[in-house]
Symmetry: D5
Subunit: 96 residues, 10 copies
Amino acid sequence: MLFKVEMDVNVPLDFDPAKFEELKAAEKAKFQELQKAGTWRHIWRVVGQYSNVSIFDVESNAQLHDILVALPLYPFMDVRVVALCRHPSSLHDDDR
Amino acid sequence: MLFKVEMDVNVPLDFDPAKFEELKAAEKAKFQELQKAGTWRHIWRVVGQYSNVSIFDVESNAQLHDILVALPLYPFMDVRVVALCRHPSSLHDDDR
Amino acid sequence: MLFKVEMDVNVPLDFDPAKFEELKAAEKAKFQELQKAGTWRHIWRVVGQYSNVSIFDVESNAQLHDILVALPLYPFMDVRVVALCRHPSSLHDDDR
Amino acid sequence: MLFKVEMDVNVPLDFDPAKFEELKAAEKAKFQELQKAGTWRHIWRVVGQYSNVSIFDVESNAQLHDILVALPLYPFMDVRVVALCRHPSSLHDDDR
Amino acid sequence: MLFKVEMDVNVPLDFDPAKFEELKAAEKAKFQELQKAGTWRHIWRVVGQYSNVSIFDVESNAQLHDILVALPLYPFMDVRVVALCRHPSSLHDDDR
Amino acid sequence: MLFKVEMDVNVPLDFDPAKFEELKAAEKAKFQELQKAGTWRHIWRVVGQYSNVSIFDVESNAQLHDILVALPLYPFMDVRVVALCRHPSSLHDDDR
Amino acid sequence: MLFKVEMDVNVPLDFDPAKFEELKAAEKAKFQELQKAGTWRHIWRVVGQYSNVSIFDVESNAQLHDILVALPLYPFMDVRVVALCRHPSSLHDDDR
Amino acid sequence: MLFKVEMDVNVPLDFDPAKFEELKAAEKAKFQELQKAGTWRHIWRVVGQYSNVSIFDVESNAQLHDILVALPLYPFMDVRVVALCRHPSSLHDDDR
Amino acid sequence: MLFKVEMDVNVPLDFDPAKFEELKAAEKAKFQELQKAGTWRHIWRVVGQYSNVSIFDVESNAQLHDILVALPLYPFMDVRVVALCRHPSSLHDDDR
Amino acid sequence: MLFKVEMDVNVPLDFDPAKFEELKAAEKAKFQELQKAGTWRHIWRVVGQYSNVSIFDVESNAQLHDILVALPLYPFMDVRVVALCRHPSSLHDDDR
């Protein structure tokens, strides 16, 4: 099942940069693991923002919840989740 | 260049259904032409809404504008456009 | 899978009351069919509004979409959909 | 009487994690006591958020107020309360 | 139980004035019946608006809902309901 | 003259509780003095919030301003003021 | 007593222009009567809008309400009322 | 040229009161200098808020900007600026 | 003096297209006259909207108001006006 | 390609002024480099705010993103990006 997830990352001005780089590296590793698994199907950056637009393909709502709240940068994020489904006009059988 | 475009379609209760079906058919044909061309790269339905989330891949802002305002259902739409770019963590070379 | 769905019904002042009663009766019949099936798991009225708060239990996002847009009163509705999941603190195994 | 209560929990980045775990444990204990009593009738997690959607069944507005402001995590919460009532179309006599 | 109810009345420019005067007279009669019964405990006009701020004292959420949706001007109203309770600092035993 | 005043109290998580209890006691004393004087005519708690809905009966806008900004908890408050007047349908001569 | 009143005028595209000119003339006459009386103390246009910012000096909330709802263009207006008072830093004794 | 300027002052709970009194005294002196010059033409307090509604009469947009950002309390302010012009119905030649 | 003006054009679905084309032609003529005069200094289309972002260079607030409300499409527009001034970092002497 | 970018700068009250002046000088240098290159085509100050309205002319969405997030004051900014295109009514061939 497909979901649009939009994530805004807010870093306090005085947060330790070294600690944040660590968290970013962990986030990237987690993202790539989920991308390889086909779960985090798409990600795009929003121009001018520390934000992304993502498409997740999950087994269940619970799986999506567990993935999101375990992200290393989750404590810094505002997250918006919208349930999607396949569009009947699409010509691509695997357009997920 | 990539853009997220979200379209909400609002049909007045008293709009002629036959006329609207015609416009929907024209919209679908136009969509599929643009999908085949790789311009309208992704489309998903928003659950419970007459709305979609789409990803466009265009040459320029002007091309995107011309495509959107020429859509058969454009006069019924609220449209939100957000400029995107490739995410540096993505493993997929062609993740557009 | 569980979703909270909130529906506001907006009836134009000059809509034919007999026609609207027909649609309401069809809506009620559809609701009860879905309630018996366990799909429309809960419904409550919002005090002072022509609105409800509902909990749906569906197989997929697509099933929820198809149910909602086929409701007889759908053309009169504003609909808000929020994906839910079971709460880990709940003592009720079947609290869906 | 029924109320929908939505709670968002906001934890400052620098709040002592051990102290917060204590508060969470106390919150869970209080929740389960109220769930067993039939007062906190339903609870669901909102996907991707530290938030829940709950249904309370209380004797009075005052009882609901006293319960909510005494929750161990109340100082961290944004709370939204909406008065509900039984829906006349419901087939379940005890659908509260 | 106490509720703050705020009602905004929106009359279309082209609504038949004689018909509206009839509805207003019916609304006033209903209001005074409820005021005598102690149910519609307070009403104030909002300066510059066709709106009121009211305090209702009802047996249950359901009673409040039934009263509001049966008001003659209800189809013209936007209604906002907020659950209240007695304030512990109040010196008036009957301050409802 | 009548005004609806709504006050939300926001206490920082790390504010000294003993200091806050002192301010609350001073607020209560001030409130009761104003209630006895007939100036702070009504107060109700908003269910689930650290907020109240109040009705003030004052000589002038300036008097209301002076009262509000001198409240011991004013530095913690968001305040919303709405000018009211007597409703012509009211049967109570002294419904203020 | 002083109030800031902001009025936005919304004229439907198909409203009879001759009828509207009549209402505008009546509005202007009423405005000038109130300006001479010192009640409608100031009026300014908002650049680019069919809106004004006004300062009223009235005896009571009720007087302000009666003036506003009797304006010939009132049925076309959105009105926002804010209670003001004299500023203690002002050097002008009659700055109302 | 005329502008409506609305200023909300937000003082952190822990800001040094002596330092703030100094800034307020400097603000008052600056205000009175501008009022005498006819530049800060009107000021009113908003009831219940640490806010004012002001009318400025300036030579240019740039002059207004330079005045506002140099106010001693500017770092504590939210400021909203709206361009105004004389209203054609006004009877007062100097109603600025 | 410089102003950012943003205009959204809203055309009712059932507005006579021939009449609207006339108004658009008149709007274009008026725009070009003002562009040649240096008053309507810049105009850009907003991608995907029937909206523009414009920069006006006018003698006074009143001149801007008179220009805007006289535009042929003004009755169809939502207009937002923001006062601007030259930026001190700009290297272009005539950057208006 | 053209974009409107609006930037609000928020400086915490207790941020080191000397450090901030350094960042401002770096920002100005970067701005002028981009202005000379024709990339940061226009900039205007918003009256009364620490904000600007800018027009960027870039090769791609990605170029705009890289420029914005590298600005020395970016960590203090709220940024809003809107895609623009040339307006067909414009008489200026190079109106970008």
